[in-house]
Structures are given as structure tokens and as C-alpha cells.
Symmetry: C2
Subunit: 586 residues, 2 copies
């Protein structure tokens, strides 16, 4: 017997089948004896049949409603930020894909006098969304264009923005409002969208509106929230977003009307990323079998060349030969065992690394530019590594460092110790801590700041596992190094493996950990030179202080011995100081 399910009318089909099963099967299985029976429960004993009655499908919306913390909606405060993040991600992806320099407006406003309810509004100048797609993009989980493509983007799952709407609906009972104008000549439309969570489908209405805009999208989500500034706030998220996206213009309006603007720093958009085909070395047997089923190619050779990247006629021939398969065989005729040999042959064949046009790292210059804009420091440096590959997926790691607080000056304490003394008040917005505090780590994945779950993230683990003592910093065991410093780390990839759907931390795959460590060391070496120079300076300062302290005494002694007059004393002092400065090159 083979399943004849067609994928139609599936909702709760399981429950219906189970009901039938129960009617047929009667009471078999209820006569079991077991030690438990002695304990003597008065309740009806469950059987396979009574249990089957309750088996049913769980819709993905129901699942995430209950597990909302997986999506970043576990507290009212975090919920607002997560919603902003998802909306901004989508806007930036759409603008860049249409090669439009992004102009965004983010607004958080109170709903009436309710202390706990807010409306989050994000408006962009992107290409808009066509009418038929709007309800699905905003009213359905696991729906989108980015999941099936091998190319860098901020969004990748088709969950985020509809999850934000679902959370809003859950906590306020109110629908999502979306405005969209899909190009100059398109009619602007306003949609009102609710999600039927039991079905994971949108219920919606739309109407034409007046909207003085060439093209773009605006999403407004009412939700229970809590608005605060400071660490892990929307403000901080947007500030970090500006660091990693210097091509973005963004205006942010807070509930009290305060406006912050982030001006674009470069007119250059990130280079356009191209979609690639899977690389043969990343493919698993099950995936290979599925690709063969879905392929339109009728020969094994054509299948290998057309459905994978980096396979030409010669490589295809080599693979076929190793697997003992004729290149002209229809791949669908291969049995599972032969496909297994084909996979082994692929793994055994040297194939060029996948094309790197699918990812767009930021680059050392723009990292430094971005850091300079938002972090005051003495010195900036960056290391952007060449892309590499894990499981057939290209990725690149970049590290930037901003070091030293420009307001700090060197001072000698009574005990002769040199310390950096800060003339600035501690300020959350400075991003950088004091000299005796752990460095500030800012993490990014595909240009999106990661603000939660720092300790669970592969980036943090790599920073902690790097020996910063090599570069002149203090570092307690198993902790971040200490110093007036911001470390910026960015991973750009066609597929970032996050530790949960909320995309807050990166999973520690070995290949990623290794590359993170290399990038940190590259940038660390640059830092080391500077820190050592700084230490040398501090040492000089110390020595000079001692010598300067003794010069008057030396001169006094000379005066007595050589019977110098006051003028000669002044001259001797000047000369000695001069000699000191020349000899120590100060």
C-alpha cells in the first residue's frame, strides 16, 4: 500500500482518519497487565485507539504562537525590537535587490493612552510588492523568495515579518496594515491582514489609497510592547545597523517624538549578489536523490553540469567514470546504490570552489568608515578575509576594531604606575567601555546586528578563544579581553546557521569557528602593533618623568661643583632636557 495523499485538503485529515480507526478497532489492547495496574488508577486506561483519536496536524502558526520565544517575541520589550528588525531586514533586502539606495523611516508610537500598546511602522522606498503577494508575505509563516536561493540576504526563512504580525494580533487582537506601491504606474493599495493561525493562511481586504510616493512599502503592526532606551534597545539596533550599512538613510521617531537620523556615508550599494547553484561537494545522498527526481536533464552528464555549479564536461566525465555510470544514462534510471557511488565519486573528485559572487562582504574600508561614524576611538583597523566554503556554501568573515578612547590621557600615579584617565562620563551611546572594562563586542550576520544571546553565539566564543594577550591586552580566563575597545565581527553567507528562528546567535559549525578565529587573529596582529606602540609611549612617558624629576637635582649638583651662575644653570637645564629629548626621540 502506498500513500495516495495528494497534499489537498490535509488540515486535520489525520484526526478524521484517527476517528475512523477508533470506530473500527474496538477495544484491543486494553487487557494488558503490568505492575502499574497494581497501583490502581481509577481513570480510564489509554489504548492505541484512544490515543490515536487525538493525533493531528499542528499548523506552523500554532507551533510558533506557543513557541513565540523561538522567534524573539518572549517579552514585550524584545518583541518591539524584533518586529523592527524583521521589517528593516525586509526593506533593505528589497531595496538592494532592486538596486535602490535605501531611504527608511522607522516609527514607534503609542496606541491611545494604553501604556502597553504600541504601533510599529516601517516605511521604505523599495520596489513595492505586487498585489497578489502582499497577503502571503505578511500573513503566512514559511513563505518567501529567499529560502530556496543560494545568495546572501538578510531574511532567509520567510517567517519573521508574518510572525511579528501574528504576535501583534495575539496581543492586541488588531490586524496588520500594509501599504504598497509596486512601481511608478501602479495604484497604491492598503491591505488589512489577519492570520488564521489554525491554517497558517491570511484573511485580508485591500483598497486603493492616495499615497504620494513613487514606489515603496509601509508596514504597520500594533502590538503589546515596552519601549526603553539603552542597551539592546531599538535605538542601539539602528545605530549598529548604520555601522554595517553605510549606504542607508534612516529616520527614527521615538514614542515621545524624538527624531534620530542616520545619514548615508557612501552612495555605493553593496555589490549585487548573484544566485548560485549548489556546489557538488556540499551535497548529501538524500539531497542528490531528490535533485535527480526534480531535474529536467535526461543524461547524468547534463544533470551534473546543469544542476550544480563548477561542473564542466571534463569534471562530469571524471565523476561518471569513477562511479561506473555512462554519462548518457538518464539519471532517473540510476538505482539508490548507484547514486550512492555517484556521490562517493563526487566527493573523490577535485572541483573548483564555488563562485563568490553570491556574497557581498562589507570590505575593510567601509568597515572602518562605519566604525568611525559611530564610535569615537584613537585608532581603527579591519581585516576582511577571502570567502571560503562550508557544506558547499560560501561565507566570509570580517573583523573591525576601534581602540582607545580619545578623551583618555596618560597619567602617572604616586606609585609610578601609568594609567589612562578618562575625562568622559560613561555613555551607553559611545558603545565603548572604560579601559578596565571588557571590550564591547558587536556582532553582525549579513549586515544585520545581532543584539541578543551573545553568550550562545559562535562569534563570542571565537573572541573568547582568541588569545588577546598576544596583542597586548589583558584577558581573564574564558572571558572577553579587557580594554577601551570595540570589536566588530561580520559573517556574510548565502546561509547563516542561526541557533534559533529569531536569528540572534550563530551556531558553532567547525568551519565557521575556524574562519572566525583566523579573522580575529588577522585584525589582532594589527591591533598588537598599535598597543605595543602605546605601551612603548607609556614607558617613555614614565622614564621621561623620572629623568625630568632628576634634572634640577643634577643641575644643582653641577652648580655647586662647577660654581655656575644662574644663567649657566638655566643653560645647563635646557641642554640636559634637550639631550634627553633627542636621545629618547620625544
Amino acid at each position: 500500500m502506498t500513500s495516495n495523499e495528494s497534499g489537498q485538503g490535509q488540515l486535520f485529515a489525520g484526526a478524521a482518519e484517527a476517528d475512523m480507526a477508533t470506530k473500527k478497532a474496538g477495544k484491543a489492547g486494553s487487557s494488558q497487565k503490568s505492575p502499574a495496574k497494581k497501583a490502581g488508577s481509577k481513570k480510564r486506561t489509554e489504548t492505541a485507539e484512544s490515543m490515536a483519536k487525538r493525533q493531528r496536524e499542528i499548523s506552523v502558526s500554532e507551533f510558533f504562537t506557543k513557541n513565540r520565544h523561538l522567534l524573539g517575541f518572549d517579552s514585550p520589550r524584545k518583541a518591539l525590537l524584533t518586529a523592527v528588525k524583521e521589517a528593516v531586514d525586509n526593506s533593505l533586502d528589497a531595496c538592494e535587490e532592486a538596486r535602490i539606495a535605501p531611504d527608511l523611516e522607522v516609527k514607534i508610537e503609542r496606541i491611545g493612552s494604553n501604556e502597553k500598546q504600541f504601533r510599529m511602522i516601517v516605511e521604505d522606498n523599495g520596489p513595492g510588492i505586487v498585489k497578489t503577494q502582499v497577503p502571503h508575505v505578511f500573513g503566512r509563516l514559511l513563505y518567501g523568495s529567499k529560502f530556496h536561493r543560494l545568495r546572501q540576504s538578510r531574511g532567509q526563512q520567510g517567517i519573521g515579518i508574518s510572525a511579528a504580525g501574528m504576535y501583534g494580533q495575539l496581543t492586541t487582537g488588531q490586524p496588520v496594515k500594509v501599504r504598497s506601491k509596486a512601481g511608478r504606474r501602479a495604484v497604491p493599495l492598503e491591505f488589512t491582514i489577519r492570520i488564521d493561525t489554525a491554517k497558517n493562511r491570511p484573511e485580508f481586504s485591500d483598497k486603493p489609497i492616495e499615497w504620494d510616493k513613487k514606489h515603496g512599502t509601509e508596514v504597520a503592526i500594533p502590538m503589546e510592547g515596552e519601549y526603553r532606551r539603552g542597551q539592546r534597545s531599538i535605538q542601539e539596533f539602528l545605530k549598529l545597523m548604520a555601522v554595517a550599512n553605510p549606504h542607508v538613510n534612516l529616520k527614527f521617531t521615538e514614542p515621545d517624538g524624538t527624531v534620530t537620523e542616520y545619514q548615508r556615508n557612501t552612495n555605493e550599494l553593496p555589490h549585487e549578489v548573484e544566485e548560485i547553484k549548489p556546489h557538488p561537494h556540499g551535497v548529501e545522498l538524500g539531497i542528490l536523490l531528490k535533485m535527480i527526481q526534480e531535474s529536467e536533464n535526461r543524461t547524468t552528464s547534463a544533470f551534473l553540469q546543469q544542476d550544480f555549479s563548477r561542473v564542466g564536461p571534463t569534471v562530469a566525465k571524471e565523476i561518471c567514470e569513477k562511479a561506473g555510470v555512462k554519462p548518457t544514462t538518464n539519471p532517473r534510471r540510476l538505482d539508490a546504490k548507484t547514486v550512492g557511488r555517484l556521490k562517493d565519486a563526487i566527493d573523490d573528485t577535485k572541483i573548483k570552489a564555488p563562485p563568490l559572487s553570491c556574497i557581498a562582504p562589507i570590505g575593510e574600508d567601509l568597515i572602518i568608515k562605519g566604525l568611525k561614524k559611530e564610535v569615537e576611538a584613537d585608532v581603527y583597523m579591519a581585516a576582511s578575509r577571502k570567502p571560503v566554503v562550508y557544506r558547499g556554501r560560501p561565507f566570509a568573515v570580517e573583523v573591525g576594531i576601534a581602540y582607545g578612547r580619545p578623551g583618555d590621557t596618560l597619567e602617572m600615579t604616586d606609585s609610578g604606575k601609568i594609567v589612562a584617565s578618562s575625562n568622559k562620563q560613561k555613555n551607553d551611546e559611545l558603545l565603548m567601555g572604560n579601559a578596565d572594562e571588557p571590550v564591547r563586542l558587536i556582532r553582525f550576520a549579513n549586515r544585520v546586528p545581532l543584539v541578543f544571546q551573545q553568550s550562545a553565539c559562535a562569534i563570542s566564543k571565537a573572541v573568547i578563544n582568541t588569545n588577546w594577550r598576544n596583542y597586548g591586552l589583558q584577558q581573564p580566563r574564558g572571558a572577553l579581553p579587557i580594554g577601551p575597545m570595540v570589536i566588530f565581527v561580520h559573517i556574510a553567507s548565502v546561509w547563516v546557521p542561526f541557533t534559533s528562528e529569531s536569528k540572534e546567535a550563530i551556531a558553532g559549525y567547525d568551519e565557521i569557528m575556524d574562519e572566525l578565529k583566523r579573522a580575529l587573529m588577522d585584525c589582532g596582529r594589527k591591533l598588537g602593533k598599535h598597543v605595543r606602540k602605546g605601551k612603548k609611549l607609556a614607558n617613555e612617558f614614565k622614564k621621561r618623568n623620572y629623568i625630568t624629576m632628576y634634572i634640577p637635582h643634577v643641575v644643582e649638583a653641577l652648580k655647586d661643583i662647577l660654581e655656575l651662575d644662574d644663567k649657566e644653570v638655566d643653560k645647563a637645564t635646557t641642554n640636559l632636557t634637550d639631550v634627553l629629548e633627542r636621545s629618547r626621540k620625544l
Copy 2:
């Protein structure tokens, strides 16, 4: 316009619609000007239409195939353990629900000579699964009986075992085999099941077999894996499972044929848990609206009483009065605003806490019994707190402690310091570390051991945040305490909020963190008494050592002064020792 989607024939419907949209909409939106245009990309510019073409549904199986690390299948080693865990969870849930004392067999065997391929087999004496349900339970993600019920169980999502099968299929191309006999008179069947990941539906066949068993289920999954012993191994997982489930008999066969048996320690099954209705205080506006839609009750008063727990006629009347709703009004006639008032009225009304029959804590006696069975220690203690409620969901926290290595003896070093010296080799299976190592923390949720992601777990955070110095232990800042000790922590709940689908760590909701801390302190106080007694003993030991050291010298002096003979010297020594022992109560 309202969506007329019926939930039928939805697969890729979005893509089809998008195609139509593209044909209609032409090229609007492609004439935009932006700074980016100057950068001059040669590639075709994307528009709302071209982007819409790629929008489509992502099946939940596709999602988890790509994000397999969310399910615990990120490495071959972890994959084997995760699969065992999911199968054992299901078997134990089924046995307990049918009130059968569980007899399980777990077997890991190599497939042929392949170094990397294994078959995982788990067999139980549970009630079996009815024929129509088997393919869905094992061949479909998000399908099951536990998600929609408020009652404690190990499984809760309907993902685990089908995910294991999907991983097996992906890495070996082979299907899952399931045997089931749903009661004494049922025909035993064997199923061969594959998952169509694009549809998230099973493809299967079944046939009757000979199976000498009264009732039960066996699942066999071939998969790529890596078999190792030691920390975070299957062996360790099963050992911990036995600690928290003293009512289980389990036989484990390793690939090399080694057999380990865990014998049941009690004939008492965990008390039978009852399903409860949602508690009104946990309900959110969106959920309330949905419950009203789905309710069969025609008056608001009946709806409140029938669809929630702990609402009787008086409470229902009070809520209705506060909300200004007539108790006889059909709840479906209430507009969203009035339902909002109803929710506020619910929050404003005192309602009895939910019934606690839905959860089954282990209890202090069985925790201690379980620890004694698997951990050798000097002393055992436990604290099982009364269940409490978060978001309308009852949960209970239990802590157990095993302290002191019985093999350790006190010794005085040359410098007069007392140390515990271990006469045992370090042994992974002992579970307990040395006196100078961090304590061993073992975590459980609904009686399932959590073996991964310790640092991300609320339980670990609560242990670290507890001040163990109060109880006589050393504890470095921000770390686990130090000492020869095992801390056992169990959360029993109708819904455990895990940080990912792989159920490896618990999310840190405030209410859970608070209760964890209280339970740890309860047990910590018991520990404190013992540790202090131990310290007093160590001090006595030290003093006695000094005195014993001096007795011969004192006697020698007495001999000279009093001119004692040898016999008298012996007597004096005995007397002095005797006085010492009596005075110090040794």
C-alpha cells in the same frame, strides 16, 4: 476583497499567482533613479514583479532539512543521540499514558562495513500505534497528540521522531522501518516510510509480520553517525534517564555488542497526569478571540465556565459584570472592543490557581533513590517544591544533591592543611568530579535529561546565580560552585519553553528563573548543614592530629619528672588519649 482560500491545493499556489501577476504587470517600477544607478550594474534590475515570481511556500520539512541544527542533527555524533532521545521519549510517553511499566530496548548497530553509517533501533512494550497513524507519526513533521493538550509529557511538538527519520533519509537515502502491534488481538505490521520533504507527507508501504510480542512499537532508523562513549554520549544519556525515571527497565546494546541494563527501582509509575483546560489568567486577547470563535457554548457565562479551568458560576458572573456583558449574550456577538473589556475583567478577577493534576513531579524520595542508584556519594538530599503557575501553565521545580566522594579520605599535608584525597581514578561514569573541580550539573525537563547547551540553559544560569558560599562551598564569580557534588535539577510542566526545537536548554522566563532559584536555595540549606558538619569534622581531625602528635612528648616529659616505668608510660599514654577522645567527643 476577502481571501477565498480554502486551505486546499495550496502547495506552490503562491508561485502560480506570482506568475500571473508578472504577466499582467509588465515593467512598472523599473524606471526608478537612485544613487545606486550611478554605480552602473550590468545585471537586470529587479522589480516588484520579477521578485514576486520567486515568492513561494516553504514546507516545514524543507525548513528543518536546511536548519537541521535546530533539531539537534548538526553533527553525526549528536544526531545518533538525538534520535535515541526522541524515540525513547515517545516510548516512555506511550507506556505511561497506557499505564504500562516500560520495558525498553535500545540498540545501535553498524550498517555493513560503512564506518559512518549506523542503525538506531528502539523497541518498547507500549500500547502500539494504530495502522492509519503510523505513517503520519513517523513521516510528517508537526503532527501529534501532545501539542494541543495541557498536560505533562516528554514530547510536545510532534517534530522529533519524524525529524530523525528525515535526517536518516537525507544522509543514507534509506527509509525508516516501523513495527507496531496495537494490542493483543491486533495483527503486527511492518511499515517502510519515506518523507516527501517538499510536501511534508509520508510515502509508505506496510505488510503483516510475525512478531512475538503482546503489544508495542519498534522504530529502526538508518543514519550517518559517529559512535563514542564518555561525556554527552548515548550511554550517559540513558544513565541520566534512569536517574529521573526509576520505573523504567532498559537494555542498551552498543555497536560492539556490549550490553548495559538499567533495572527498574520502583514499580510505581509516575502518577497519571490529567489534561486541563487553559487557566483564564494566562489567556491573551488574540487567543481569547480565537477561543470564542471555536467555542460551542452559546452564552458568555457558559463559555467562561466550560472552556476554562477554575471558572464557576460566581466567577463567571463577576467577570461579566465587570466587563459590562450580559452573561446570556452569545460570545460570538461580542465585538473586539468588548472582548478586550472581558479580558481586562478576567485579569482583574481573583481566580483559583489551575489544578496541579496535569503535572507529575518525581518527588524527593524517588529523586534520592535515583541518585543513590547511579551516583556514589556520602550524603543525598532533595527539595521538591510545590507546583506554581506561569502564563496559566503549572510547573514544578525539584532539586537533588549528591555530595562527597565516599572514596575520599581526609589527610593532613606537611603544611598542616586538611585535604580530601581521592583513592579513586577519575571515571566519567561516576558522574562526580574531584573536590577541586566544578560540581556536576545534571538537568532534566519532564524527566528527560538535557545533555547539550548547558551554558544557554535557565537551569545553569540559576545554579550560577545562587550563592553557594552560603552553604559552605567555594564558587568563582559567574561560575558553577566547586566541590565533589552532583546537582540534579528537574522542571515538570505542561509546557516547557525550550530555546530551540531540539529541546536542549530551557528559556529563561522570569517566573521559571525565580522558582529555580528558590528550589536551589531550599536544597542548598540542607547541604549547608552537612558541609558545615564536614568542616567541623575536618577541624577536629586537625586538632586531634596536633594533640596526638604531642602526647608522646608530654608522656616523655612526665616520665622524666615522675620517674615512670614503661608500663606506667603506656598507661599514661592510653589515659591521655582517652581524655582527649572523650573531651573532643571523637
